[in-house]
């Protein structure tokens, strides 16, 4: 799989949640280049998260092709798909990203457990986790704390560290800043950008907040790439 392939490519994808007539997603073409940072804007309920699930391969497109790093996800078995996701994508959600009972260190190292190739890129998970924490502005004595005891802003940074560890080629973030206040938000994005630039990682971030737009290489409006069928009935 040559690195020249776009990291994400969707062609003529149609998706419908099972048993949900009122919502459908049609995407004719969506492409994300290596090392590109893209902001995906769209209002709530427009299908942004659904699109991310398609890219991550946790839901399968009914029609069309979803290629991740040049590989058609439909050509993989479910097990291979899970492993492939772990190898290729670092994920950050809106909130509740972490296992609250586990230590910060274990949370950060968790994806390595399911991604052997990513693991080989990390000599020492604890050291790498510490380095990422410091880079993301977290005090390193937090590593042994239980993740549930951290503030929301700190938790999002830990989630970012977890997405970045082992340098996957793509970071997917689903409204990662919407639970943060404005100042923390700016701070968080800067750190995330710095890290993804440093490793030439692609970043696909979803938001409904257009003010973030100028920090990204490209902005995609959900309405432009996708036809969301709503209330078709």
């Amino acid at each position: 799989m040559p690195d020249s392939d776009p990291i994400v490519l969707l062609k003529d994808v149609r998706y419908r949640w099972p048993g949900r007539k009122s919502f459908g997603l049609n995407i004719r073409h969506l492409e994300l280049a290596r090392a590109e940072t893209v902001l995906l804007l769209g209002e709530s309920g427009s299908g942004k998260s659904t699109l991310l699930s398609l890219i991550c391969g946790t839901v399968a497109a009914g029609q069309g092709q979803v290629l991740l790093a040049g590989t058609d996800l439909a050509s993989l078995t479910p097990g291979q798909r899970d492993r492939f996701r772990a190898e290729q994508i670092g994920l950050i959600f809106q909130q509740f990203n972490l296992l609250p009972f586990a230590s910060v260190l274990d949370n950060i190292a968790l994806p390595l457990q399911f991604a052997p190739t990513r693991r080989t890129r990390v000599d020492n998970a604890a050291q790498e986790a510490r380095r990422l924490c410091i880079a993301l502005g977290l005090p390193d004595d937090l590593l042994t704390a239980r993740a549930g005891t951290l503030s929301v802003g700190q938790q999002q940074r830990v989630a970012a560290a977890r997405a970045l560890i082992g340098t996957p080629p793509l970071i997917v973030a689903d409204e990662p800043t919407s639970s943060l206040d404005a100042e923390t938000q700016g701070n968080f994005l800067e750190l995330l950008f710095a890290q993804s630039r440093a490793h030439a990682t692609s970043l696909l971030m979803v938001s409904h907040d257009a003010r973030l737009a100028d920090q990204f290489d490209r902005v995609i409006q959900m309405a432009d790439v996708a036809q969301s069928l709503r209330d078709a009935a």
Binding site: L99, P100, Q113, F114, R146, R162
Partner: protein, 416 residues
């Protein structure tokens, strides 16, 4: 790391998980405890008599005869006459014969009249003989040899005077004939420990002034006068017999059972024990069944706990999925947690069992005369523990499969 996460997840829910583990531990301790008592009781019953070929008594049930003659449980409905006893003793097949005369008591302990041959012939725990811890076996008419428990419970030492009561738990004591403790036996773990042993003549002596269970009014024969009497017993309760040759046992048994002068019954102790096992095996099975059900209940409780935790853990499972865990790994994680709970519960149950044995051993011994040995777990117990863990894993499959379905449907997004 997965194991560490499983532990962390469990300890985050310490209260419910702790309760679940406690329930499993208690059920396992109960199950193993019942097993211990069951096998312990069986072993101690089987150890109580050895070296005796036949037990003879008046005709009744063979289990009944075994119980009253050896275990001092229940009473003889009839005695066998002294003539019959002497007839038997004279038979050529009979190598030795020891008479047993029961029916009197001292405090809560039974008094047994016999001959000194009893101390030579009575064997327990595959051939072990009785031995005297202090004093000597009876020599005088009013000498009594007491078992270890009698001495310990009543605080008797050699030389202590004792009074024998006629009949069991009766308040009419034979005050006129004070006996004396001549010897105390070593602990045996058999009913002998709880027996006061006197000579056959002594039993007669006690009853000199008695007819039909009541004292003859105004009559009181002095001890010295009694010593002058010939105290030949009218009857004995039972007799232990050893044959010249093992081959003669069945022939002799038949002969006794067909004894024309009196209805007698001869039993082989081993065969009667087997019969006893058959009778108690229903109760045994019921006991195992009930304690097994308690374990099952605890495991179902664990299943319920896992089920009720699933909804609040949807987020956790979605995170695992997002990080690349297969739905199968989510299932595995839940089963692993259940196995950990069951294993900790089983280990704790074993610890509780030993703690219970440690505390309960002397109490059970003094209350029931049952000495439960404290030994490393038997193979059978190890299997039971493994079985509990396996059953825990199997039971947890049900909620784990549900989690599997849920995480397949949820993917990495949980809409909350």
């Amino acid at each position: 790391m997965i194991l560490r996460l499983a532990f962390a997840s469990l300890s985050a829910r310490a209260l419910t998980v702790g309760m679940t583990i406690l329930a499993i531990a208690l059920s396992v301790a109960l199950f193993l405890g019942v097993e211990k008592i069951r096998t312990g009781a069986k072993a101690s019953f089987a150890d109580t008599i050895s070296g005796t070929d036949l037990i003879v008594g008046a005709r009744s049930g063979s289990v009944q005869l075994l119980l009253y003659s050896v275990f001092r449980i229940g009473n003889a409905t009839n005695n066998m006459t002294w003539e019959s006893y002497q007839d038997l003793a004279a038979r050529p097949e009979v190598d030795w014969i020891v008479p047993i005369s029961l029916g009197d008591s001292h405090r809560q302990f039974r008094v047994m009249g016999t001959t000194t041959a009893f101390f030579e012939r009575y064997k327990y725990r595959s051939g072990q003989s009785l031995s005297v811890a202090g004093g000597a076996i009876m020599d005088d008419l009013f000498d009594a040899v007491i078992g270890a428990d009698v001495a310990a419970t009543l605080g008797y030492e050699v030389g202590a005077p004792i009074v024998v009561a006629h009949g069991l738990a009766s308040f009419t004591e034979h005050k006129d004939q004070p006996f004396r403790v001549s010897g105390i036996l070593e602990k045996t773990g058999t009913p002998v420990d709880r027996t006061v042993i006197v000579s056959l003549e002594a039993i007669e002596a006690i009853h000199v002034d008695w007819r039909n269970g009541a004292q003859i009014p105004g009559q009181s024969t002095s001890a010295d006068a009694i010593r002058q009497m010939t105290l030949e017993p009218q009857a004995v309760t039972a007799a232990l017999i050893g044959t010249q040759s093992r081959l003669q046992v069945f022939g002799l048994q038949r002969a006794i059972n067909e004894y024309p002068q009196e209805p007698l019954l001869a039993i082989l102790p081993g065969v009667a024990l087997q019969e006893l096992w058959q009778i108690v095996s229903i109760a045994e099975t019921a006991l195992i069944g009930v304690s097994g059900m308690v374990v099952v209940t605890a495991l179902i409780g664990m299943m319920a706990t896992i089920f009720s935790s699933l909804n609040e853990r949807r987020r956790e499972m979605a995170i695992f999925r997002a990080m690349g865990a297969r739905p199968r790994a989510v299932l595995g994680l839940l089963v692993l947690e259940a196995v950990l709970m069951a294993a900790i519960g089983a280990a704790l149950g074993l610890a509780l069992l030993y703690a219970g044995l440690f505390i309960g051993q002397p109490l059970i011994d003094s209350a029931f005369g049952l000495w439960l040995p404290i030994e490393p777990p038997t193979l059978r117990e190890v299997w039971v523990l493994l079985g509990v863990v396996t059953a825990g894993a199997i039971v947890s499959m049900v909620p784990a499969y549900r989690a599997y379905r849920m995480s397949l449907a949820d993917g990495m997004m949980v809409r909350t």
